[in-house]
Symmetry: C2
Subunit: 217 residues, 2 copies
């Protein structure tokens, strides 16, 4: 069995591997977890011994089969609990991530599957992230961001790349949620800010950082 810290490392490594094809360095993991790189090097040794990961300076950190399986289960639990917290307990969008960060570590062989069934086998979590199935398969992940949309074109919000409450609260303020239609009216050449129309009503200007944090379909 994996410790709480090992689970958080597994999840961080999994998310880094999903995010891009770049090799996963100790520094990248350190940044993701808010730890010192020296601590990460310590942990890489322990997790290599446990055969959860492989580390090669050239290839970076890779999950082993076991490590991949374990990390997918943690992500599955995290996202299922988020659905539960939002839909059943009525928590707000910006509150659920931190609670799920703790709930994901509760270990019981059938807990995830029972929760999944209870929730009606949801495919996506409240942030639009795909919930891994019991067999480990992931529903389609959204990868195109609002920043990629052509000027004049329309799209729908499918997921958010940032789960910080400052970002999510900003979205609430703008009236944007999963499924909200957005039209890109103008792209400011100077800093790639976008003038957008939200839900066919309000018009606002948003920064590049903002538009890159929204995934669309």
């Amino acid at each position: 069995m994996n410790t709480l810290s090992e689970e958080n490392y597994l999840k961080a490594i999994f998310r880094l591997s999903q995010k891009s094809d770049e090799k996963i360095t100790p520094t990248a993991i350190a940044e993701a977890l808010g730890n010192n790189a020296a601590s990460v090097v310590d942990m890489i040794r322990k997790m290599t011994d446990k055969e959860l990961i492989e580390y090669d300076k050239k290839k970076g950190v890779r999950l082993t089969q076991q490590g991949l399986k374990d990390s997918i289960l943690i992500v599955r639990k995290h996202r299922l609990w988020e659905v539960f917290l939002l839909e059943k307990l009525g928590f707000h969008w910006d509150e659920i991530h931190d609670i799920a960060e703790e709930l994901e570590h509760v270990s019981n062989a059938s807990l995830a599957d029972r929760l999944d069934k209870f929730l009606g086998f949801p495919e996506y979590d409240p942030h639009g992230d795909p919930i891994p199935k019991a067999n480990g398969k992931l529903p389609k992940t959204f990868t195109v961001s609002l920043a990629d949309v052509k000027t004049g074109a329309s799209c729908k919000v499918a997921a958010v790349r940032d789960t910080s409450s400052s970002f999510l609260q900003y979205l609430v303020k703008l009236g944007i949620g999963i499924g909200t239609p957005i039209q890109v009216l103008e792209r400011i050449a100077f800093d790639q800010s976008l003038v957008i129309k939200i839900n066919e009503q309000d018009q606002t200007t948003v920064s590049q950082r903002f538009s890159e944090s929204i995934l669309i379909s």
Copy 2:
């Protein structure tokens, strides 16, 4: 905030204080938690410094106001999660305790209250233990055991004193659950075993240890 270990100590001390009026010694806590008495003495110092408990060799360990408040919240969360696991996720009677042992440590200001509401404000957990209310008040606790019932008299199972799966599985095998009517037919003088009639049907003999582990109303 309290660490996971501190929370488990708080809960153990709370349960010992509920169980009887005897003073709570380091040895008693050690036994309850399966720790060495030396470790308990260490922790008593830390928790005294944090003003969660008071320790006086004459009076034993006592919870401070803060310690009492904190421990009641943990017990509240434990028992609410047990109801959730049994009623909503369909776990069995003997599986829920260990999972709730982990879930009780998830910390969020409104989690317990939202869960309570979602479950319809249950008064007792699946083992018949009272669930502390949001204000800290406890519903009536059952204290009379099957061993106290007069020969010939009838009663109903209200709660179980032991949540081990060996005990709970034995109860399932005997067809005994919360609310099951039991009549005491005979008391064996030799070892205080009881001959009982379950649910007005089956007749069995049970040990003293068994009858002391069942609370009745």
